[in-house]
């Protein structure tokens, strides 16, 4: 397909992964038109169609999206279009080992700055699905780390902070899949920001990347 056809049929590109480590370093994009997402690559390497469908299926599996009966396509259920988590979901679906799965149990992750572990529990309160962050393990003031994680969800999940320990999504609905995806990013915003900056600098040509200025 030509560029103009992709734009006409699939819409705008939400995210681009420049090199798929699991399939010949092809470039894979996530496109959106209305509420239909399309996983697409311009590559014509043999097997690419199967690979794109695998990525699509991984997004459905990890992100709670709906596959539709067409190659490379999936549907965003009402309330699930939250751009940043969708982009993280896509990147993970391309870059993680195809056999990767989330644990189905409680949502938790270890803190990579302390010996704490974060636990996130959700509950319905007056038609608002509230996520509460708690910790296990020893630390003098765990609330500092909890507050940072809530801040991470506000930054990367477009969530609303309710207090130092809890947040909800903008549509006030349950989005456990997004919480699982976002927790590894939300627990360490500064490292994630560095990672994003490095990624954004790759492939840019300017006086810094050329080594012509400090």
């Amino acid at each position: 397909m030509r560029v103009f056809e992709v734009r006409e049929q699939f819409g705008n590109c939400l995210e681009l992964v420049s090199m798929d480590p699991n399939f010949h370093n092809i470039t894979v994009g996530l496109f959106i038109k209305n509420d239909i997402l399309t996983v697409w690559s311009y590559s014509k390497i043999e097997g690419v169609k199967s690979r794109l469908n695998t990525i699509r299926d991984k997004m459905v599996e990890l992100g709670g999206l709906k596959s539709i009966d067409k190659d490379f396509k999936l549907k965003v259920p009402k309330g699930y279009f939250i751009e940043r988590p969708l982009r993280f979901l896509f990147t993970q679906s391309v870059e993680k080992d195809p056999g990767f799965k989330f644990d189905n149990g409680p949502i938790s992750a270890s803190d990579n700055k302390t010996r704490l572990s974060f636990n996130i529990r959700g509950e319905n309160k007056n038609d608002n699905y509230v996520y509460v962050v708690s910790t296990t393990g020893e630390h003098e003031r765990p609330i500092i780390r909890i507050r940072a994680v809530v801040g991470g969800f506000v930054k990367y999940g477009e969530c609303i902070k309710l207090n130092d320990e809890s947040f909800c999504f903008k549509d006030k609905k349950q989005h456990d899949e997004y919480v699982r995806i976002l927790l590894p990013y939300a627990r360490n915003v500064s490292a994630v920001e560095n990672m994003i900056t490095t990624s954004e600098q790759t492939g840019q040509m300017n006086t810094q990347t050329l080594g012509f200025s400090q």
Binding site: I26, T27, M205, L210, G211, F212
Partner: protein, 343 residues
């Protein structure tokens, strides 16, 4: 006004004459990772094989309908042929010179290798231009690129050493630039012989590193001489803040200056006083890379309202630029014309 060919349009704009519509032409590069997949010509191979290079360069016309083709994507082809220590990188990053490991120490070391134009990494551009000329005929302008002596000096001497030399021993610096310019001429003329209609001369005397006075002291005369000697129009490219040296650049006789988004279009137009055409200056790292088509079009409008003659990204576009934002440049020009005609 009758519809112009792409070549007529770009040449008229370079001569600051009337055009049927302002051209979109990037004098540096329009390579992206998506297009590498489309035509199966990934980096770094597309910088080292003429056939792949031409295939990738052609997408500027076939997919984005720009008004020119520029097949030299990076800034390192000559330096590789000279013998610099290279880092070729991979698909999603630019090949670079390891300037921390310079090959020469002083002007006396500067010598043109016997096989400079036969080296794989210079020949690739020359051969690519021949392929593109054959494929696209004479109505599409091909923009070649030949590095200026200042940029080459960074590569062969190392940035820090070269810049310190401009203070410690300016006459040695001038001698080095004088000798390095031979590479600029040799590679530029070879590209013209192969079919290039225009040459871009990147010479990174950027505002991030040196003052406008440096430009006058070390480069203005060399650039003036190039404008007199080359038989095709020249487009000078310098990244970063350059508005303080634009009046001097405008006096060189070069046809155009490709300028960075760190300079406002209107202030740039005021600085050059219609003595040289301007090409630019859509922001790369933020607008083209991560903003929306609406943001891209807004910058196109800003350039056109200021009177910028050729619309282009400010430099070689980020390799991960989304295609829709490149299409938006051409669409932005069309939208501006429609709005302009209405008023």
């Amino acid at each position: 006004m009758k519809t112009m060919t792409k070549k007529e349009r770009v040449f008229s704009a370079l001569n600051r004459q009337e055009v049927d519509r302002p051209p979109v032409a990037n004098p540096t590069s329009v390579a992206t990772v998506e297009m590498m997949d489309l035509v199966d010509a990934p980096f770094p191979e597309a910088c080292r094989s003429a056939e792949l290079n031409a295939r990738l360069a052609a997408t500027e016309i076939t997919e984005f309908d720009f008004d020119s083709i520029a097949p030299y994507f990076s800034i390192i082809q000559e330096s590789s042929a000279i013998g610099c220590d290279m880092q070729w990188e991979q698909k999603d990053n630019w090949p670079t010179v390891r300037m921390s490991n310079p090959i020469w120490q002083s002007a006396s070391d500067v010598k043109v290798p016997k096989d400079f134009l036969e080296h794989k990494d210079t020949k690739v551009i020359i051969d690519s231009i021949k392929i593109l000329r054959k494929e696209f005929g004479n109505d599409i302008p091909i923009i070649g690129k030949t590095m200026g002596p200042w940029t080459l000096a960074y590569h062969v001497f190392g940035v820090e050493k070269f810049l310190l030399g401009t203070i410690d021993n300016p006459s040695e610096t001038k001698l080095a630039l004088e000798k390095l310019k031979e590479f600029t001429y040799l590679f530029g003329e070879a590209q013209i012989d192969a079919g290039a209609d225009i040459l871009t001369v990147p010479d990174h005397a950027t505002g991030d590193l040196v003052s406008g006075q440096y430009y006058k002291t070390f480069l203005q005369e060399l650039h003036t001489e190039m404008a007199e000697n080359f038989k095709v129009p020249l487009i000078l490219h310098i990244c970063g803040q350059t508005v303080d040296r634009m009046p001097a650049i405008a006096e060189t006789g070069m046809h155009a200056f490709h300028f960075d988004s760190k300079n406002k279009p209107q202030e740039a137009m005021n600085a050059v006083q219609n003595k040289i055409a301007l090409v630019g200056n859509i922001n790369n790292p933020e607008t083209l890379y991560s903003k929306t088509t609406t943001d891209v079009k807004k910058e196109v409008f800003e350039c056109l309202n200021a009177g910028v003659q050729i619309i282009a990204p400010e430099c070689a576009i980020p390799l991960k630029t989304k295609s829709e934002n490149l299409i938006a440049i051409t669409e932005g020009v069309s939208d501006w014309i429609s709005e302009h005609n209405k008023n």
